[in-house]
């Protein structure tokens, strides 16, 4: 088992790299063979990745996010799953290169940071905590995917508005498709984050009955949740157009990064993991 898990540290980034290269052929050369192979290849690697995470859980008897390496691998997995879902929903593969490249980057980092031993942490044995973290990671991954689509949407929007026709022009799907994929990712992220907030509140109320609402990370998460909720609501009510939603998506990602990095660095609280 140990040997298999170690070899996965080489196989997984390599597999994601190959899939990213395949998607690169789709994006840069519009290669029909690469287009046919891309989605099945990605799904196969996701299954392999799932097997690796389950193997980690079985090996250490706890949720596989106890080390930086495991957490990064979990993030890579979450982004891959969300992208595969968005791609399936939008039936559009030309943007996969950017997202799968991001997945490869996370998994590579995870493999580089991998250590043979994993500390045994009691909190990672709690199933509600595992659900909370899984949902939070899935939500953040979905928001990252949505931000990627928002960026591409704004790029194409600017090109079409100004009649400049940059490198992206002609290679990306139409604005309507980019917006739809962004909204699918945003919705998936919002639902997941809502689940994470609910399970987190339940779990925190049980373990830290007093004062958990004043934790800076929880506050930042609630702000994030509110931003995305508002963006989705205004888009649904047709008050906002694609461009505003894309900007909100990028702003939401900024809040997430703040919540993940700055809060951990500058504020103390019980939410120190991840």
């Amino acid at each position: 088992m140990q040997l298999l898990l170690r070899s996965a540290n080489i196989v997984l980034p390599l597999a994601y790299l190959l899939v990213a290269v395949d998607y690169g052929f789709v994006f840069f050369a519009a290669d029909p063979r690469a287009q046919r192979a891309a989605a099945p290849a990605l799904r196969a690697v996701i299954l392999l990745h799932l097997a690796y995470l389950l193997g980690l859980a079985a090996q250490w008897g706890q949720f596989p996010a106890a080390t930086e390496s495991q957490a990064l691998s979990l993030i890579a997995f979450a982004v891959a799953v969300v992208y595969a879902y968005v791609e399936w929903h939008g039936r559009e593969r030309s943007t996969g290169f950017w997202l799968v490249a991001l997945v490869f980057f996370f998994q590579l980092l995870a493999s580089v940071l991998a250590r043979p031993e994993t500390p045994d942490r009691a909190i990672f044995h709690d199933p509600i905590f595992a659900i909370h973290v899984s949902l939070a990671l899935l939500g953040y991954a979905a928001f990252a995917v949505a931000a990627a689509y928002a960026f591409l949407f704004l790029q194409l929007y600017r090109d079409l508005k100004a009649g400049r026709f940059s490198t992206f022009y002609g290679k990306l799907p139409p604005l309507a498709v980019l917006e739809r994929m962004m909204l699918v990712a945003l919705t998936a992220g919002f639902v997941s984050l809502t689940g994470a907030v609910v399970t987190g509140a339940f779990w925190a109320q049980r373990l830290y009955p007093s004062d958990w609402l004043h934790d800076p990370k929880i506050l930042a998460t609630l702000i994030t949740w509110a931003i995305y909720g508002m963006a989705l609501l205004l888009r649904r009510l047709r008050r906002w157009q694609g461009r505003q939603t894309a900007l909100a998506s990028l702003a939401g990602l900024g809040t997430i990064l703040f919540s993940l990095v700055a809060v951990n660095l500058f504020f103390s609280g019980f939410h120190a993991f991840l």
Partner: protein
């Protein structure tokens, strides 16, 4: 003689004297090679290798005029419709000097490709029948181009790839080459050589469009509008199109849009009569009075304005009001009017993508540049397909000899076996027969492959050497039959030249 445009009077004989490679001339292929740039030419020359002098290929002759060399007034007189082309091919084949013929006639070019038995006479016949009979002015120097052997083959492939087209990389020409091939086949004018050449030309044309971006991107106004729409909307089928103005430009764009699936057309025009005429051509289109254009904008996804009005017919304020009243859907506005029909400031409105004729031109120029950048890659494809064509031709030349060689070996085998068998028990006869067959097959395998597929101009001397070494002279009673059989086999292999996309046998 290197391939060159015919620099003198067209009635001059086909001068066998060598001409300098730098002969000036207006020939399309020469111009195209110049357009491809020195890099492409050098790459092509390298890829062509030792066979570049044409000695390794079959004898071919191409005479033609195109938009580079001849004005439309003259071209239209030398354009052949389907039935005229059919008759012309029959006339050409009636000349003993011509073994095979192909006539390609489009609005931009008329070319005849021949497999001559007598080059000089074939040239004169084609010149008189195809060109001078319809436009004696073509006799003037510099109008007609003539290409021979490999130059002729390369030119036909370049034409099929769209390298010689007025709009670089346009796709229609491939269909026209296909039609010309089908006609030559139907008339019986395409023999093994032209049939195989056409197969290479069609394969090159298809590969150029599949493997390179030579046909990518819009290079006309109508398709530029479609390209912009496809960058904004998921599907043209669901796109509601509003045409403000019903003139010729609007019709041309509407035609392109309808071809690409746009079904929901609405036209508004100052004169109802013109709108009705528009509806006659596009029965699916709805017509509205000009004053109702703002109401129509609220429903539209794509607005095409092409009126001759001196003042803008859509102002920023009017468009902003229309946008405020519609759901948050993007609106593509293409202003084809000069002076402009839409206030330029309207482009600042959120979710409005306003493009003028200049912006479309910018897009077209960008796409044209991308196509030009692809020319070296297309030249490489042409080189590869030419190499396949020549490989096939070398194989075809070698087949009769190989057949004779095999026949001779088989005769010797049978002779020796019949003498030897009485000395062996009967039970081993079948075994000995198999053994000797296998021996002969294995001994001849590599020499046969070598005769079929070697590159270079030493190919023909090698055939002669083999003929001499094994005494396979032409008086062999089976030789004629074998040669015909091999030609038949070569011909049958490409019976569907117009549709086939197979590679020739591996060299």
């Amino acid at each position: 003689m290197p391939d060159s445009p015919h620099p003198g009077s067209a009635r001059d004989s086909l001068d066998p004297a060598p001409r300098g490679a730098g002969d000036p001339g207006p020939a399309g292929a020469t111009a195209a090679a110049d357009r491809a740039g020195a890099g492409a030419s050098e790459a092509g020359a390298r890829a062509r290798g030792p066979a570049a002098n044409g000695a390794a290929g079959p004898s071919l002759l191409l005479l033609g005029i195109d938009f580079h060399t001849v004005p439309i007034e003259l071209r239209e007189r030398v354009t052949y419709g389907h039935e005229e082309a059919e008759k012309m091919l029959v006339h050409l084949l009636a000349r003993s000097a011509i073994a095979e013929a192909l006539l390609l006639s489009t609005c931009n070019r008329t070319e005849v490709v021949l497999q001559p038995r007598d080059e000089e006479q074939a040239y004169r016949a084609a010149l008189d029948l195809v060109f001078l009979s319809r436009a004696p002015e073509i006799e003037r120097p510099g109008l007609l181009y003539v290409k021979r052997n490999q130059g002729a083959a390369r030119h036909l492939l370049a034409v099929a790839c769209g390298l010689e087209s007025m709009v670089l990389g346009e796709s229609e020409i491939l269909g026209q080459v296909k039609q010309a091939a089908a006609l030559a086949e139907a008339v019986g004018a395409a023999g093994p050589v032209l049939r195989r050449l056409l197969r290479s030309a069609l394969a090159a044309g298809r590969r150029a469009r599949q493997e390179t971006a030579i046909s990518a991107g819009a290079v006309s106004l109508g398709y530029a509008v479609i390209e912009l729409a496809r960058n904004i909307f998921r599907d043209l089928d669901d796109c509601r199109v509003l045409l403000i103005g019903a003139g010729e430009i609007a019709r041309a764009v509407a035609r392109n849009l309808a071809e690409r699936g746009a079904r929901q057309l609405t036209v508004v025009n100052r004169t109802p009569e013109r709108a009705r005429q528009f509806q006659e051509e596009f029965p699916q289109a709805a017509a509205l009075p000009f004053a109702e254009r703002f109401g129509a904008i609220r429903e539209a996804d794509l607005v095409i304005a092409s009126t001759g009005a001196d003042e803008p017919v859509i102002t920023r304020r009017q468009l902003a009001e229309a946008m405020a009243a519609r759901p948050s859907r993007p609106l593509l506005v293409v202003d084809l009017g000069v002076p402009r029909n839409v206030e330029p400031e309207a482009g600042r409105i959120e979710n409005v993508f306003l493009h003028s004729i200049d912006s479309l031109d910018h897009l077209i120029q960008r796409n044209l540049k991308r196509r030009k950048d692809e020319m070296p890659r297309v030249q490489e494809i042409v080189d590869e397909e030419i190499a396949h064509f020549h490989g096939w031709y070398r194989g075809m030349q070698a087949e009769p000899l190989i057949a004779r060689l095999q026949k001779q070996a088989e005769r010797i085998r049978r002779q020796e076996l019949s003498q030897a068998l009485p000395h062996f028990p009967e039970s081993s006869h079948e075994h000995l027969d198999r053994l000797t067959r296998s021996l002969v097959r294995k001994i001849l395998h590599h020499p046969s492959d070598g005769l079929r597929g070697r590159e270079g101009t030493e190919h023909l001397p090698r055939l002669d050497l083999v003929r001499e070494l094994f005494r396979l002279d032409d008086t062999d009673p089976d030789a004629g039959e074998t040669h015909e059989a091999s030609e038949r086999a070569a011909g049958e292999g490409s019976a569907t030249a117009a549709d086939a996309d197979e590679k020739p046998p591996a060299e």
